[in-house]
């Protein structure tokens, strides 16, 4: 187990290096941050001087070398726009995204799994028929649309919840529901499919034949075996959630890293873009490692450690 985790963490470092190099290259292809920082009509020599102070006039390979050396020391550079360490800016905003992400993920799991399981057990029944369009709509509606619709109905028409902002449970509900919507639909569909697959298997028939109570068959046997694909899909959906926070946070003026990323991209604040992507990648990679460990916990037949196989 320890060896497995160590190898996975080493792989994570390689992934982080690859991703950071990619982001470094892409951001260098997209224009000059200094041109966006100064008032219109600023003389070119003033801009050249600013580029020099920020190290943006160095050859790209030298900028990359400095970037990697900083990375090794945990220094992701200084924000050009805010004049503060990029990593600190990201870490200041991370708790907000974590709060929103955890709430949305919790909601998606808490509603998606029971919905999918209920639809699977009562295949063709009213729950299944009612849930299917709900899941389809959830998967088809982009979050910026869901979010604006929720604001119009719940905040403007009903005046039940605040339309934007952060700082209280009331402000969390709408963005969390918006962000959860897509994942909820995915998880519900997967749960339904997994339960349906398990229900047809021999051990279920055997359990029923033995006279095990139907509720126990579902909870102790079917769900246990259906858990593996559900956990896989749910973890993969963390990537969707991380992508979804960019639009959701912008719509609801939620001060997390998704919005920070958007602002940084708009102002070509390279260092902050790099820091957001690195932190986001780290979160996703860690979540994958945790899932792999969870496999072993859920299904004792899966042995951890033989990663080379």
């Amino acid at each position: 187990m320890t060896r497995f985790i160590a190898v996975r963490l080493l792989q994570a470092v390689i992934v982080l290096w690859g991703v950071s190099t990619l982001v470094f290259a892409i951001s260098r292809l997209s224009g000059d941050p200094v041109a966006l920082m100064v008032p219109q009509g600023t003389p070119p020599d003033v801009m050249a001087r600013m580029r020099h102070t920020l190290g943006l006039d160095l050859p790209v390979y030298e900028q990359y070398g400095r970037f990697l050396w900083g990375l090794l020391r945990g220094d992701l550079g200084t924000s050009y726009v805010q004049d503060a360490p990029a990593l600190r800016l990201v870490l200041q905003r991370l708790p907000y995204t974590a709060e929103l992400g955890v709430a949305a993920f919790g909601l998606a799991l808490a509603a998606g799994v029971p919905l999918g399981v209920a639809a699977g057990i009562g295949r063709g029944g009213w729950v299944d028929r009612a849930a299917l369009p709900f899941m389809l709509i959830g998967q088809a509606m982009p979050s910026f649309w869901t979010g604006l619709l929720l604001i119009l109905v719940v905040s403007v028409d009903w005046r039940l919840l605040p339309s934007s902002g952060s700082g209280s449970l009331a402000t969390l509900i709408l963005p969390a529901v918006t962000l959860a919507w897509l994942s909820l639909a995915t998880i519900a569909r997967m749960s339904r499919a997994a339960v349906l697959e398990e229900l047809d298997k021999d051990y279920v028939r055997t359990a029923r034949a033995k006279g095990v109570a139907p509720r126990r068959v579902i909870l102790r046997h079917v769900l246990r075996n259906a858990a593996l694909p559900i956990v896989t899909v749910a973890t993969l959906d963390i990537a969707n959630l991380l992508g979804g926070v960019v639009t959701t946070e912008s719509i609801f003026a939620w001060p997390g890293i998704g919005r920070l990323a958007l602002e940084a991209i708009q102002s070509r604040d390279y260092t902050v873009v790099q820091a957001v992507v690195l932190v986001g990648t780290a979160v996703f990679v860690l979540a994958s490692v945790v899932t792999d460990v969870l496999y072993g916990v859920i299904d004792p037949r899966i042995e951890l450690g033989d990663v080379s196989a």
Binding site: D32, G41, P44, A98, S163, S164, G167, L262
Partner: protein, 501 residues
């Protein structure tokens, strides 16, 4: 599964528990900005979100009268050019910073000196770099020397916020940016980055106690959300609205639409120096004749745009009401194209960026298509766009759309950078134009300046390096209870606002 759910709830509670909830008092105003301020240090940034907030914390050396736009004193009470390059300013007596220390000429001098310090790397350096020195001759007198006679000095000093020399020297840069301390109407209470900035009234403000006790600026990037915030009562003032939002605001009896002409002028600029069909003045005239500015302003922008005949508004120094402008004349356009050898049609490249209103770009494309000019739109992200159009090779395409404001209401800040030979924004070169704008920027004689700008504007009218379109009208949505009049320089001065009734 239960255990996982419980764990998730615990993590969420732990995260939510460490955060403060912003408190609101009765006489409180909430303003939705388009983004978070980058910094609250007046020497360090120039973005409007930062300026909208810190302008309320700091006093400026001079200001513009909200009704007339005339320059008047704020921290300075009087000023005089003792020679063409030496200015003396008398500093108002009895001003204090929010920490109780007096504001003197030394603070005003330091506010300029730090921007001129190349190590400080101020984005505003280009606005002040004609100043060679700023010194406090005595506690009440500020002396400014310039490298040459500099007629725009006063207009630039309108944007100069006065910091406490002692305070900024005693604190490091990030500290000054995060904890601003000025002499203005409001003082900082909290700044939660990315979320909101809350300011409280400064009871000792020299112009009297502000009528609004507390103001919260929120960063709300999404246009539709800012409108929803107004509708749901979460905010009382929202900035950066479009003509599409105007109808929603007007339809709501609890809200009002505030609008005001700005000093921003929308224009089309032509590439007259590159390898472009627009090198030919007849083709430029054909393009101009094919564009119906009035129709665009009315139908596309809902009338929230004031067509102009030159690149300046009537509030700019150098404005000449004798300039004729251009008339929509599709027949003349076709004739000119034929004369220039493009009877069979012509293709032009319209270089732009999503930063600009793409509805306008597409509408211009549509109007030109009707005149037989095929327009290919090439859109780049803003950074790349700037790099392209500012390249000295002038290989950026044929035409581009822009909106210009120098925040100085002076022709020197507009037509000089846009059309002077060698300016990074200019793809035009004309010796007579250069002579006129060079002469106008190196004399304090107002009559001579007007004369030179009139001559320069005549060159632009005749040679057509671009087409002035309209004066942009800023739109604000507000609660009916808010009383405030937007100003042409788009200053968001909460001291001038009242709430209630």
């Amino acid at each position: 599964m239960k255990r996982i759910a419980l764990l998730l709830v615990c993590v969420w509670l732990a995260l939510a528990g460490v955060r403060a909830v912003p408190a609101l008092t009765a006489a409180a105003l909430t303003i939705d900005l388009q983004g978070d301020p980058a910094t609250l240090d007046p020497g360090k940034q120039y973005d409007t979100n930062s300026y909208d907030v810190y302008r309320n914390i700091y006093d400026n050396l001079l200001r513009r009268n909200p009704a007339t736009s005339a320059i008047e004193g704020e921290v300075a009470t009087a000023w005089k050019a003792v020679s063409p390059t030496v200015w003396r300013f008398t500093i108002r007596k009895g001003l204090t910073f929010q920490d109780g220390t007096p504001l003197t000429a030394a603070d005003a001098a330091w506010s300029i000196t730090r921007i001129l310090d190349r190590q400080f790397n101020s984005p505003q350096y280009g606005n002040f770099n004609t100043i060679t020195s700023a010194t406090a001759t005595d506690p009440q007198t500020l002396t400014i020397e310039t490298a040459r006679p500099y007629p725009v000095l006063l207009a630039q000093l309108v944007n100069l916020s006065i910091v406490s020399a002692k305070y900024v020297q005693a604190h490091d840069e990030p500290d000054v940016a995060a904890h601003p301390m000025g002499s203005g109407a409001y003082r900082l209470v909290t700044w939660l980055r990315g979320d909101h900035v809350t300011l409280a009234a400064n009871p000792r403000f020299w112009r009297g106690r502000p009528r609004i006790d507390e103001v919260t600026f929120r960063a709300v990037p999404e246009d539709a959300t800012r409108v929803a915030d107004l509708q749901s009562g979460r905010a009382q003032l929202a900035l950066g609205l479009t003509s599409d939002d105007a109808a929603t605001i007007k339809a709501n009896p609890k809200l009002q639409l505030l609008s005001g002409p700005t000093e921003r002028v929308a224009y089309l600029a032509f590439n007259t120096l590159g390898d472009s069909p627009l090198r030919d003045a007849r083709v430029r005239e054909a393009v101009v004749d094919a564009i119906d500015t009035r129709a665009l302003a009315q139908s596309l922008l809902g009338g929230y745009a004031q067509p102009v005949r030159e690149f300046l508004t009537s509030a700019h120094v150098g404005y000449d009401k004798a300039i004729a402008g251009y008339k929509y004349d599709p027949a003349a356009s076709k004739r000119l194209l034929a004369e220039a050898g493009h009877a069979g049609g012509l293709t032009l490249v319209f270089t732009t960026s999503p930063t600009y209103d793409q509805r306008i770009v597409q509408a211009l494309q549509g109007q030109l298509a009707q005149a037989g000019i095929n327009v290919k739109i090439q859109s780049y992200d803003f950074g790349t766009y700037l790099q392209k159009i500012q390249s000295p090779q002038h290989d950026w395409g044929d035409l581009r759309f822009g909106q210009w404001s120098c925040a100085c209401l002076d022709a020197d800040g507009v037509i000089y950078p846009l059309f002077h030979t060698g300016s990074i924004w200019s793809s035009f070169s004309d010796p007579a134009f250069d002579r006129a704008v060079d002469a106008a920027r190196s004399t304090l004689d107002a009559a001579a300046r007007s004369q030179n700008y009139a001559a320069a504007l005549q060159v632009l009218q005749k040679d057509i390096p671009g087409l002035p379109l309209w004066q942009v009208i800023a739109l604000y949505g507000a609660d009916r209870g808010l009383r405030w009049r937007p100003t042409p320089d788009e200053q968001l001065f909460v001291f001038d606002m009242t709430l209630g009734g």
